[in-house]
C-alpha cells in the first residue's frame, strides 16, 4: 500500500487511489491473469518495429492508410463476434454472411439500379434476419451454436454462389458506395473529426470524474485521467498528421491525402458498441449471461432474448463488413467474405483479448486485434512472404493468443481473480 488516505464511498471505507497505487493495482491485475489487450498492444508494437526496420515503406503514410482499408472488413466482423464470444458462443458463418450481404447490395446497385441509400439498408436488414434465424435456432431450439453456424457457413457459401449466378463477378459503379472504403476525408474534415474525438473523450472522462466526486465516491486519480486523455490525443493527432500528408506516388495526377472515410465509420461503431456494452443494462446483461447464465436467469434477465440478440448484432456487423469489402474491391465475387476472413475475425477478437470462454472482452479488442492481423498480413506481404507463409504465421499468432487466454484464465483461477 503506497497510500494511507481513506475516504468513504456511501459509508464503506475504501482506499483512495493515487497514481502510484492505481498503476500498482493495474500491474497486480495483469499478474493475476487479467491481461486485457496488453499482449496484443505489445505484439502490435513489436511487429510494427520488425516490419518497419525490415522495410521502410511499412511506415510510409500510404501503407498506413492501406492498413485501415485492408483491415476494415475483419474489424467490423470481429466487433460483432465479440458479442457472440462474450456469451461463450461462436459464429462461424459471419464471414459468408458478410459475403451474402455484400452480394445483396451489389446486385441491387448494379443489376437493379437501386441507389446506395436504399440498397445498403436492405443489405443491413438481410444481416439482421440472418442473425435472428441463427440466434433463434441456438436459443430456442437449443442446437449448439457451433453446429448451427457451421451449417450456415456451408449454406451461405452456397447462397452466395446462387446469388451470383454460379460464380460471376458483379462490379459496383455507384460512386458514393465505392468511396466508402477507398476514398479519404478532406484534410479539414480529418482534423475537425480528430479534434472532436479527442475533446469528446476528454469531456466523457472529466464528466465521469466530476459526477462521481459530487457523490463522494472514489474517483480515478487525476494523473491517470490526464494520462489517458493525453495518450489518446497523441495517438489520434499523430495518426491524423500522418494521414493528412500527400501520399500519392504522383500527386499531380491523383492527389491522395486525408483520413480514410472508413476510419470514422470504425470509430462510430467502436463508440456505439462500447457504450452499449459498458453503459446500458443490455450490455450488463450480456456480460452476466456470459459469466453465469444461471445467475442471470434468476436475476430475471431474459437469457434467450439476449442470446438471440448477440447473433443479430454479429450478423448485422458482418453485413457492414461485407459492404466494406465490396466497396473496397468495387465488386463482389463468390469468395467475398470467404477464405480467411472469418478466421481472421475470430482471431482478431481473441488476439485483442476477448476470451473464448465467455464473459470477458471489449469492443476495442476487435480493433486492436484487427490491427495486429492487418499488420501481419500487410507487413509480411511487403517482405515478400508467400500467402502460405502468411497463413502459417497468422495461425501461430492466433495459437499464441489463445494460449495466453487459457493460461491467464488458469492463473486467474489460481489467484482467485478470474
Amino acid at each position: 500500500m503506497s497510500t494511507t488516505t481513506t475516504t468513504t464511498a456511501g459509508g464503506v471505507k475504501v482506499v483512495k487511489p493515487t497514481v502510484g497505487s492505481y498503476l500498482n493495482d493495474y500491474w497486480g491485475r495483469v499478474r493475476g491473469g487479467d491481461l486485457g489487450s496488453l499482449p496484443a498492444i505489445l505484439g502490435l508494437v513489436v511487429l510494427s518495429l520488425i516490419f518497419g526496420v525490415a522495410r521502410d515503406t511499412f511506415f510510409s503514410s500510404l501503407n498506413f492508410a492501406n492498413l485501415f482499408n485492408q483491415g476494415a472488413q475483419v474489424v467490423f466482423i470481429a466487433m460483432g463476434l465479440i458479442f457472440v464470444l462474450l456469451l461463450g458462443e461462436i459464429d462461424l458463418s459471419a464471414g459468408f454472411a458478410s459475403g451474402v450481404c455484400g452480394a445483396v447490395v451489389a446486385i441491387l446497385l448494379t443489376n437493379h439500379g437501386w441507389d446506395w441509400y436504399t440498397a445498403i439498408p436492405v443489405a443491413l436488414i438481410t444481416g439482421l434476419v440472418i442473425g435472428f434465424v441463427l440466434g433463434f435456432l441456438v436459443a430456442k431450439i437449443g442446437i449448439p451454436s457451433f453446429v448451427v453456424t457451421l451449417a450456415a457457413f456451408l449454406g451461405f457459401q452456397g447462397l452466395l454462389l446462387v446469388l451470383l449466378g454460379g460464380g460471376t463477378n458483379i462490379s459496383t459503379r455507384d460512386e458514393f458506395f465505392n468511396s466508402l472504403n477507398n476514398d479519404n476525408l478532406s484534410v479539414t474534415w480529418s482534423w475537425i473529426l480528430a479534434i472532436v474525438a479527442v475533446l469528446g473523450y476528454a469531456a466523457v472522462q472529466f464528466n465521469q470524474v466530476r459526477s462521481r466526486a459530487k457523490r463522494g465516491l472514489v474517483t480515478d486519480p487525476l494523473g491517470i485521467v490526464l494520462l489517458r486523455i493525453g495518450g489518446l490525443a497523441v495517438l489520434v493527432l499523430v495518426a491524423t498528421a500522418l494521414l493528412t500528408q500527400e501520399r500519392a506516388i504522383n500527386p499531380a495526377i491523383n492527389s491522395l491525402k486525408g483520413v480514410p472515410i472508413v476510419v470514422p465509420i470504425i470509430a462510430f461503431f467502436l463508440v456505439l458498441w462500447t457504450f452499449v456494452l459498458g453503459r446500458t443494462s443490455y450490455g450488463r446483461h450480456v456480460y452476466a449471461v456470459g459469466g453465469n447464465t444461471e445467475a442471470a436467469r434468476r436475476a430475471g434477465i431474459p437469457v434467450d432474448r439476449i442470446r438471440i440478440s448477440v447473433f443479430v448484432i454479429a450478423s448485422f456487423m458482418a453485413a457492414i463488413g461485407g459492404i466494406m469489402a465490396v466497396s473496397r474491391a468495387s465488386s463482389v465475387d463468390p469468395n467475398t467474405g470467404g477464405s480467411n476472413i472469418l478466421l481472421y475475425s475470430v482471431g482478431a477478437a481473441v488476439i485483442g483479448g476477448t476470451s473464448l470462454f465467455g464473459g470477458k472482452g471489449k469492443v476495442i479488442n476487435a480493433v486492436i486485434g484487427g490491427a495486429v492481423i492487418a499488420v501481419i498480413d500487410n507487413g509480411m506481404g511487403l517482405l515478400g512472404f508467400s500467402a502460405g507463409q502468411k497463413y502459417i504465421f497468422t495461425g501461430v499468432i492466433l495459437l499464441i493468443a489463445a494460449s495466453v487466454d487459457a493460461l491467464a484464465r488458469r492463473r486467474a483461477a489460481a489467484t482467485g481473480n478470474r
Binding site: T8, A9, G10, G11, V12, K13, V14, V15, G32, S211, R212, K214, R215, G216, L217, V218, R279, T280, S281, R284, H285, Y287, A288, G290, G291, N292, E294, A295, A296, R298, A299, G300, I301, G359, K360, A412, T415, G416, N417, R418
Partner: protein
Amino acid sequence: MAATPLLELNGIDKSFGPVQVLHDVGLSVYPGEVTALVGDNGAGKSTLVKCISGIYTIDSGTVTYDGNQVAIHSPRDASALGIEVVYQDLALCDNLDIVQNMFLGREKKRGIVLDEPTMEQMAGDTLASLSVRTVKSLRQLVASLSGGQRQTVAIAKAVLWNSKVVILDEPTAALGVAQTAQVLELVRRLADNGLGVVLISHNMNDVFAVSDRIAALYLGRMAAQVKTTDVTHSQVVELITGGRSGNLGLPPEKPADFGGDVVDITPGGDK
C-alpha cells in the same frame, strides 16, 4: 417477541406427479427473528423454500404475508412482496464487480444509461448498514472475493431492495470457521434490523448460535416449530431424524411407540 408473523404458511401441500413432497406444512416467520429451518436430506426444505420464492407453485394451502393472503406465482412476485432468497450457490457473476452483481437485473438507469454513481452509493450504504468493512473496493470483481465475502455480497444483494423476508439456503456450508462466524453475525444483524430471516442449515451449532425459533421438517411434514431456548441440541436432532422427541413433534405412527397405554389417534390405525 413480535406477536404477528410476517409470513405465515398454512396447510401447504406440494406433489411432483405421484410423489407428495410436502404434507400440510405450516411455517411462521416473525420480523426481527431468525427462524431456522432444519431437516434431513429430502425432508422438503428446498421444496418449501422454492414454494415460498415462487419457483414452484403450491398445490393447496395459504400464504399470508403481512396480514394479507397472497398468491406467489413467480420469483418476481416474491421479490415484489419483499421476499428474497439467497441460494446455496449464491448466483453471482464472477466477471462482474460487487455493485454490478448487487443490481443485476434491476439496474438503476437515467434514460437508457446506467446510473453507476447512484448504484454504487446504494450498494455502499447497504453494505455499511450491514457493518461490512472488509471489501477493498466496491468495484472489485466478485471473482477476487473470499467465500465469506461472496456470501456477504449475496446477502447484501437480497436486502438491497428493502426486502422484509430473507431466506438463506445453507449460507455457511462452504465456509471456514472465521468466515462462518462472520456470516452468522451478519445473519443476526439482519434480524436485528427488523427483517424476518429464515436460515436453512444442517449445522446444529449455527442453528443454536443465531436462531430464535427452530422449525423441523421430517419427511415432508412440519414436525415442530419451537423456540430455540425451549429445546436442547439432542431434541432437535431427534426431531430431524425421527420426526419427534418426547411430547414434541409428529404423532407416532404405531401406538407401541407410546408405551402401550396411550390411545391411538393415527387415522387408519388398528382399533
